[in-house]
């Protein structure tokens, strides 16, 4: 996975996430949208097998990159919880 930053302002971030597809981007976008300070969060894959472009806009109170990182942390947390439940499964 490589990141190419296209635009970064106080309330907007546009970046290309290379090597990913819907499998990860959809969950990421959904998680970013849970944040109440986020205005717009969407990803677009222009053509098949293109690299997705992620756009995140906030209301100015939070840095958009921090918002993405928090969303990743939360997603990771859900996976950790489920993985530990799976470990307890006999």
């Amino acid at each position: 996975m490589n990141i190419k930053l296209l635009e970064l302002e106080k309330d907007k971030a546009r970046l290309i996430v290379q090597g990913e597809g819907h499998t990860f981007m959809n969950t990421l976008t959904d998680e970013i949208l849970k944040d109440p300070d986020v205005d717009v969060a969407r990803y677009v894959i222009e053509f098949q097998f293109s690299d997705p472009e992620l756009l995140v806009t906030t209301n100015g109170k939070k840095d958009p990159l921090d918002v993405i990182r928090d969303a990743c942390t939360r997603t990771s947390g859900y996976c950790d919880e489920l993985l530990s439940l799976m470990e307890k499964q006999e």
């Binding site: 990159l65 919880e81 439940l85």
Partner: protein, 280 residues
């Protein structure tokens, strides 16, 4: 968050999971199908093939055979220390030498590593008549379902919403909905209808019970309402024999976690930098 297993065998399982978002459930499903690595035959050296099938058709069929995979014992070819040349760490070798008449089965693929064998030994590959021969050497490598369907570790992998059936006060126990239900989820109990204990998960949300209720002349609104719990899903996962389903589930979750962690790291590298980002 919880996972409750209805059924957990070596090759198939059924579980419910909640509360999760739709997006997470779908990502989980996609990860289990397309991102969990498994072994499958990729390169086939054909020394002799006088069978009825062309070389490439034979190679295609051999590639689709599921192979028991020990994920700790193999690495992907791109990541191997041999630089892609092929060594026992990234590649499993099979040889096959069969002469007709008879059917060639997957058990005729002789493995080099006795633990890495075709998952089922009775998969027919090609039928040979007298004097027809097949002599091949096959290499199996580790890859993901995204690359080719032969590397998908699952045969069935899907989910549905957890059904919710509410029976209102207007129910008069006429039993029309019970007769209509194709999954035998309902039963008449006294003067009302109720869900058979333990069968709520069989409901397919088809709504035939609602239609039957309206048809029985109960009024404007049916007494029985079928909907679903928004954040609870029932998953059915079946493996093809290459990996135990528990491993498929665990690796699917691990994939989503690894991608999240990697993205966090990459963003950390960018924003930790001294603001030299490209501005358009």
């Amino acid at each position: 968050m919880d996972i409750i297993f209805n059924r957990l065998d070596e090759n198939s399982c059924r579980f419910q999971i909640g509360p999760v978002n739709t997006a997470f459930a779908n990502s989980f499903r996609r990860a289990m199908i397309g991102e969990v690595p498994t072994l499958a035959i990729e390169d086939v050296r054909i020394y002799d093939n006088t069978s009825a099938l062309f070389d490439e058709i034979l190679a295609h069929r051999i590639g689709l055979i599921p192979i028991t995979t020990d994920l700790s014992g193999y690495v992907k070819r791109e990541e191997c220390s041999c630089n892609g040349e092929g060594c026992p760490a990234c590649r499993a070798m099979f040889t096959m030498s069969v002469e007709g008449p008879g059917m060639v089965y997957s058990r005729d693929l002789i493995p080099e590593d006795p633990a890495t064998i075709p998952a089922y030994d009775n998969i027919p590959i090609v039928k040979l008549t007298k004097d027809q021969k097949v002599v091949v050497e096959a290499h199996a490598i580790l890859s993901t379902g995204k690359m080719h369907a032969k590397w998908q570790p699952t045969t069935a992998c899907g989910y549905k919403n957890y059904p919710l059936i509410t029976i209102g006060e207007a129910c008069d126990g006429c039993g029309q909905c019970v007769e209509e239900c194709p999954r035998v989820v309902l039963e008449v109990h006294g003067a009302r209808v109720k869900v058979v204990p333990g069968r709520i998960e069989e409901c397919s949300l088809c709504g035939l019970c609602e239609k039957a209720c309206l048809g029985s002349g109960i009024g404007e609104e049916p007494a029985i309402k079928v909907s679903f719990e928004k954040k609870r899903y029932i998953f059915v996962v079946e493996g093809d024999g290459s990996l135990p389903v528990k491993q498929i589930i665990v690796h699917g979750l691990q994939f989503i976690k690894d991608q999240s962690e990697e993205l966090k790291e990459r963003i950390g590298e960018i924003s930790g930098g001294t603001g030299d980002e490209k501005q358009e």
